[in-house]
């Protein structure tokens, strides 16, 4: 419940996100894949949202700050008007107008004070910190600068899985941080939804959680698409239909879900089902290999290469 605990939780999430982002930037920075780029954009924006989730200044402190600034301002304006020999009514009108003019400035001042307070409470961005421990990352250890593929290297799929795993862990911590803010007796959807609309902390956590879930979803879609491409490439040498129809022709656009996928099972639900199950199993296998295989890098790179050529030929 306490503010300090919230900040600790959020900083843990920031550490995990920064870890995932560091890997992700190395792998996916040059990628033109729609899903990878969209996921990258979302993860990049997360840190500032997590900082904002610390809550900032309450509306009471904002009001008091603006009162403290407005009082001398209004007093000096009224005094000046008085000294200039305005009639009493005009002194009042001038002062009220001065307050109206100063209002946007006051809002800006309180807003930036609130953001500065958030930054002060949350500390430095954890990007360069190696503080997020090896234990937290399932013994994988922190990222060292020399980690990851060299500049000319091809994309290694297993690493994107790792990014998704780090983001999933971050999401778990974020949700528990959110739930810790709420009285356990009132953990029901209606109350939480109301808080997510009104509470400063919870609404920002909900936004950040939405971004995180979208990034994870995109990475999973990307992995499924790659797996389907690879499988179909080895079987029939023709482009695959993965979980959602990918957009090679229109980068920067969300999926064009074709009517036959939306309509009730026309092109064979069994085939679709097989398509759907395939990537999952492949993904699981690959995950398993990730943990202990040193040679899977080569194999995966081959696979990635193949899908790359496949993609160009599409």
């Amino acid at each position: 419940m306490s503010r300090r605990q919230l900040c600790g939780d959020l900083n843990g999430v920031r550490g995990l996100v920064a870890h995932g982002l560091a890997r992700f930037e190395k792998i996916g920075a040059g990628s033109a894949d729609f899903w990878v780029v969209s996921a990258l954009i979302r993860v990049r924006g997360l840190d500032s949202m997590l900082v904002a989730a610390a809550g900032g200044l309450s509306s009471w402190s904002r009001t008091l700050i603006s009162a403290a600034i407005a009082f001398p301002l209004l007093w000096s304006v009224a005094w000046t008007a008085h000294a200039l020999g305005f009639a009493p009514a005009w002194v009042i009108v001038t002062t009220v107008l001065a307050l109206g003019v100063a209002m946007p400035g006051l809002l800006w001042v309180t807003g930036s004070a609130s953001r500065a307070f958030d930054r002060y409470r949350m500390g430095a961005p954890p990007g360069r910190r190696v503080a997020f421990g090896a234990g937290e990352l399932n013994g994988e250890g922190a990222v060292s600068p020399g980690d990851g593929p060299a500049p000319g290297d091809t994309v290694v799929e297993g690493d994107l899985d790792e990014v998704a795993a780090a983001l999933t862990r971050a999401r778990v911590r974020l949700v528990s941080a959110a739930l810790r803010q709420v009285d356990p007796e009132r953990w029901n959807a209606a109350h939480l939804a109301r808080l997510a609309r009104q509470d400063r902390v919870l609404s920002r956590i909900a936004d950040a959680d939405l971004l995180l879930c979208q990034a994870i979803d995109f990475l999973e879609l990307h992995a499924a698409e790659q797996a389907a491409l690879r499988r179909n490439g080895s079987e029939q040498r023709e482009p695959a239909r993965s979980g959602m129809a990918p957009l090679r022709s229109r980068p920067g656009r969300p999926p064009q879900v074709s009517p036959e996928r939306v309509g009730p099972a026309q092109n064979g639900p069994t085939q679709n089902g097989a398509d759907r199950n395939g990537p999952t199993q492949n993904g699981a296998d690959r995950n398993g290999a990730d943990r202990n295989g040193a040679d899977r890098n080569g194999a995966d790179r081959n696979g990635a290469d193949r899908s790359g050529t496949e993609r160009r030929s599409v």
């Binding site: 509306s59 009493p88 002194v91 939405l210 969300p254």
Partner: protein, 192 residues
Amino acid sequence: MSDEGGRDEDIFAGDVESRLERADRRVMAAVLDAQCRDWIAERPDRVSFARLGQAHHELRAAIHRYNPMRKPDDWLWPVLSTATWLVTSLIILLVVDEPADPLTLAFALVAGLIVAQVALFLPGRRRKHEILEIEDPLLYADLTNRIEACAATARSDPRAELRAAADDLGRALDWVSATRDEISRGSSPAAR
């Protein structure tokens, strides 16, 4: 599904912007409900609300093309607090002997600010939000109808920048149907 009166039921009521606002409100209600139920593990599913959140994003982009200034969700309270501020300052100025005295004037206006802040904390501010369930198939039929009606209007608009809103709405429709896919048959690779 909704109980906000007949106006909310009629998908053609009002101009395109307010129709889109209503559709967006429904999308957000479904997203928040699904998200909160995922948090408390009542219905663990982190994929579908993320996709519907995309539809919200595209709807906001389309609304932004119609009106770059975001309408406040709730206009009553800003107006009421401004009115409180004015009335409080006015009363103080009427009561005191010399209202044009600089110190009195500044004091009255600042006191008005603080009282307006107090007025915001009065009870009764709770607003009823409808609750829409993300797994309700009717929600998707309803959203598709609403968005398609707006997209048809936008497509035939003479202004080019508003015709671009039809693209946003098309993408929003894609995401809505992607969510429906995810709900109805678990099309995501995450459904392990």
